[in-house]
């Protein structure tokens, strides 16, 4: 066990615990805040594994923007404070699906790599950049087109509603 292993285990435990709390919490806003901890912990996992670019992008995009939007929406609708109660059937179903996914993913990983430890040697930032903007540039551009289409549609939806209001 190196110090990196210990660190990874610690960050992983925090992430997992925060994820469980996010799912089981009855108050939606608290769940959102636990999600922040969980996603931040995931960024920590990436960092320990040496994928710092992914870690920082995770922090910047998911924690800094996506969850902020989620929390913002919760505050806007004022639904963050109330308690959410799901039926036991729902809970058991969710727990079953979660456990099944865990077993499936864990089993696949163990089957693929076995139990022995492996060196983590991810590519550096430069390599990732070259791959994205070289080999994978077309999919990347296609993705940006998708985002652009979504943006234009959002604007269209927002403005057409307005004009109808004004006409009425």
């Amino acid at each position: 066990m190196t110090s990196r292993d210990v660190l990874f285990a610690a960050v992983g435990l925090i992430t997992a615990a925060a994820a469980v709390l996010a799912v089981t919490n009855r108050r939606v806003l608290h769940a959102g805040l636990w999600l922040v901890v969980s996603l931040g912990g995931l960024a920590g996992c990436y960092l320990v594994l040496g994928a710092e670019l992914v870690a920082l992008v995770q922090l910047l995009v998911y924690v800094g923007a996506v969850v902020v939007l989620v929390l913002f929406a919760l505050m806007l609708t004022r639904s963050g404070g109330g308690e959410v109660d799901t039926s036991p059937a729902h809970r058991w179903l969710a727990a079953g699906v979660g456990a099944g996914m865990t077993v499936l993913l864990g089993g696949a990983l163990v089957a693929a790599y076995g139990w022995d430890t492996r060196e983590v040697a991810g590519p550096g930032n430069e390599h990732i950049g070259e791959e994205i903007f070289g080999t994978w540039v077309w999919p990347f551009e296609l993705l940006s087109l998708l985002l652009l289409a979504a943006l234009v549609t959002a604007v269209a939806v927002a403005t057409t509603g307005h004009s109808r209001d004004r006409a009425a």
Binding site: V36, V63, G64, A65, M75
Partner: protein, 320 residues
Amino acid sequence: MDLPLAVEIILKAVVVLAAFLTLPLAIGQTEHKVMAHMQGRLGPMEAGPHGIAQLVADGIKFVQKEDVTPASADRWVFKLAPAVALIPYLVALAAIPWSAAWVAADVPASLLLVLAVTSVGVFGTLMAGWGSGNKYSLVGGMRAGAQLVSYELPMVLAAASVAMAAGSLSLTGIAQAWSWWWLIWQLPGALVFLVAAVAELQRVPFDSPLADSEVVFGPYTEYTGLRFAFFLLAEYAGIVVMSLLFTVLFLGGWSGPWSDTLGPLWTLLKAALVAILILWLRIAWPRVREDQLQRLAWLVLLPLALVQLALTGVGVVVWG
């Protein structure tokens, strides 16, 4: 200079913490004085010569005050919010280089790190807005959330432009690649970054989340004592971090005459000038209305940042 790793880490941590606790106070004191003189006043004069210890006195006052948690507050969210607002700036300060050698945590993608951790600071404001159980806080928190998300994008794009020009994500690398003509080449980006930084700090003219005439004091309305002081400290630490970041990205950091020996002083001087500019805006300009604020971000800053990116791309291809 071969120190054991542990000693070096502890030493660096102490130095960063000391800078984190003193530089914001210096900014705060400067704000007191500059604001006072810009309004034809003297500012604090009683605590120490020319009121030099005013903020220390304020700190003592804050410590003595009762730490009130409102009955309808979301207790833990309310109590943790100041720390969440404060700590990201501490991390960011550690990653910003003062000169090629003077950097506490020299990580390869330090620009991304600083931008990422400062974006986490939003949660402090959001948590405070939600946790206070006060409608003004909630409105202020929502305004802060909307504002910070909108201005994050132009800010990151402007920073990306510099990173592209330098061909590096490391702040040290960017500052080393800087040369004086970047002042003109990266000017639109610098303006976008400065405006977005002021908006991220929720300073005038972008202080509508805290607008005292509209939402009392926004997310900080219910806070008292030390927790309130932590929010203030976070605000001024934010000014320190943003000024240093602007200096390193757009003003060449430590470059200047005799930068080998005087490098950190150049950084400090430039950052101080940027900080005073940020303070100056608060004194000179009125508050921007909420809808104007969003228009500015999406209709002015974002296109400008994109134009800057294109300009940088062309420049890198032509000269690079």
